[in-house]
């Protein structure tokens, strides 16, 4: 007893960095596996290195053609931009509305199991596919133009907001729900007086966030012909109008920045 405490006094405390993975064998083993993966994957990718070698001078000449940005066709740009914003607004509105039923059906404590499973698989299905894939299917059905863009963004908004809403409802404390049920409230009354006051702040926050995300995505669905500024951008790229592309890119950055600023401002007010 005495001996061991004396031993503790004499040996200096061992300091070492805190590691995320403590066993050194596992840690170094993972690092080796990661390195091996990088070598294997880079080797197996079909990359034309002599084409890549031209990349740097190409990037230089492209950059040279990009500055100064050409804002002279601003009317084309503002039309595209306005279309993008309108698409985002409309899609956020419909997404917000339609996400409510889907979100409630996706909450396990609200609905019977079969409804829950169907709602959840719908959410997963539409979340998995990238907007561009959804957009191209809508373009096939509805033709080119902003309508396909609005529908695409609506679908992705619905799945995003309803997933959040469903999780929010599932995480509610059962006390309030039981209290309202005890007054004899039926299902609609339960939704209005119990679920909605509790879920509303986060639901509004998520919806506003989605508006900002939709503005970001609306700039890109145009690349497959679904309207908005993306269409103008893709056209300018394929015509090598790099100075115009630069102007569009700068406008998109500004727009997204403003959208994000607006969304943050509203969400901080909501809290």
């Amino acid at each position: 007893m005495n001996n061991s405490s004396a031993e503790q006094m004499t040996t200096a405390p061992q300091w070492h960095r805190i590691r995320l993975i403590e066993p050194p064998l596992l840690r170094n083993g993972l690092a080796v596996v990661a390195m091996a993966y990088i070598f294997w994957s880079v080797g197996s990718l079909d990359i034309e290195w002599n084409r890549v070698a031209q990349g740097l001078p190409r990037a230089g000449s492209m950059l040279k053609r990009m500055v100064p940005p050409d804002f002279s066709r601003w009317h084309l740009m503002t039309r595209g931009l306005l279309e993008s914003v309108q698409m985002a607004l409309a899609a956020s509105f419909f997404g917000m509305i339609l996400a409510v039923p889907l979100g409630i059906c996706g909450a396990g404590n609200m609905v019977p199991k079969p409804v829950y499973l169907v709602a959840r698989s719908l959410i997963i299905l539409s979340r998995t596919f990238h907007e561009i894939i959804v957009a191209i299917l809508f373009v096939k059905i509805f033709g080119f133009g902003p309508l396909s863009g609005v529908l695409t963004l609506t679908v992705s908004s619905i799945s995003f907001i309803s997933k959040m809403l469903a999780e929010d409802i599932e995480n509610m404390t059962p006390g309030q729900i039981e209290a309202i049920r005890a007054t004899g409230a039926d299902f609609p009354k339960l939704l209005i007086y119990c679920i909605s006051p509790q879920a509303m702040p986060r639901y509004l926050g998520v919806s506003i966030y989605r508006l900002d995300a939709n503005i970001r995505h609306s700039t890109v669905v145009g690349i497959v012909g679904a309207g908005g500024i993306g269409q103008v951008l893709a056209a300018s790229f394929s015509r090598y109008d790099y100075d115009f592309s630069m102007a569009i890119l700068m406008t998109i950055i500004t727009l997204v920045f403003l959208g994000e600023f607006f969304s943050n401002w509203v969400r901080s007010r909501l809290r």
Partner: protein, 270 residues
């Protein structure tokens, strides 16, 4: 008698909102609806297309079924390429997002100019979609997976940099002061005082971004930046809808699997 007069008057019917609250609510609803009506009204929407939309959708569904499973064998290599693009892109991000995050965090940046530069890098990277980055890099490196890797990396820098910068701003300053008190250099403070504190966040965001990147890299092929998107795009353009179904099913499987793996890994490390 007196006490009865002072008792608050409760209305006979309970209402959740006072008239004033209800009015502002309705004003909000009206505002939101009119913004939507304006947006939809001025958009160039051919409403007539809705008339035969269900027929078009049915037509598409009939053409897509049954999936042409013979096509599956040709999908393996592009699928692996898709995963490689996402993984290597995330790996590249890992190294670039670091310095950007340290510049963009208020407590580690050098001065206000470097802070602005850091913030600008993060905002610009996030504002431009992966597909747009891919357009740029295809023009630079030519079509192929390399352009995809850089596109993924450039879009992810902003995402990871933002989350890591926020984590850096929230670290425990005590540890930093303790390291500084030993006479450590700036680099040592970063390496020993700050990095270990944000490392779990960094690994978490890397894994999280990786599964988003798998999803993004499935469409890079639309602009020629490699991966399964090339096949999807060509099948759609050739109206080979039964092949499209097979591709969509495999994409669904891969994205779902990556989401599952990423969730499991994040559970372990945080």
């Amino acid at each position: 008698m007196n006490s009865e007069q002072h008792a608050p008057k409760y209305p006979d019917i309970w209402r959740r909102f006072s008239p004033r609250e209800a009015l502002t609510r309705w004003a909000w609803y009206l505002g939101i609806v009119s913004v939507t009506v304006w947006a939809l009204g001025t958009l160039d929407i051919p409403w007539l297309y809705f008339l035969d939309a269900h027929l078009q959708a049915k037509d598409l569904a009939v053409r897509m079924w049954p999936p042409d499973w013979r096509y599956l064998g040709r999908l393996i290599a592009p699928l692996i390429e898709t995963i490689h693009i996402a993984t290597l892109g995330t790996a590249v991000t890992f190294f670039i997002a670091f310095p950007a995050a340290f510049l963009a965090a208020r407590n580690t940046t050098l001065n206000s100019t470097t802070w602005l530069i850091g913030r600008f890098i993060l905002v610009a990277s996030r504002s431009i979609n992966t597909i747009v980055w891919a357009l740029l890099f295809v023009a630079i490196f030519g079509p192929g997976p390399l352009a995809g890797i850089w596109a993924i990396a450039f879009r992810s820098i902003g995402f990871m940099g933002k989350l890591v910068a926020e984590a850096i701003e929230e670290i425990d300053e005590g540890a930093v002061e303790a390291v500084e008190a030993t006479g450590a250099s700036r680099l040592q403070v970063l390496w020993i005082g700050i990095l270990p504190q944000v490392l779990p966040v960094i690994y978490g965001t890397v894994v999280y971004r990786w599964d988003i990147n798998i999803r993004e890299s499935t469409v890079l092929g639309f602009v020629g930046a490699g991966g399964i998107g090339i096949l999807l795009y060509s099948s759609i353009n050739q109206f080979m809808w039964q092949e499209v179904t097979v591709i969509l099913i495999t994409v669904f499987g891969v994205v779902l699997a990556s989401e599952f793996i990423s969730a499991k890994v994040r559970q372990r490390i945080t």
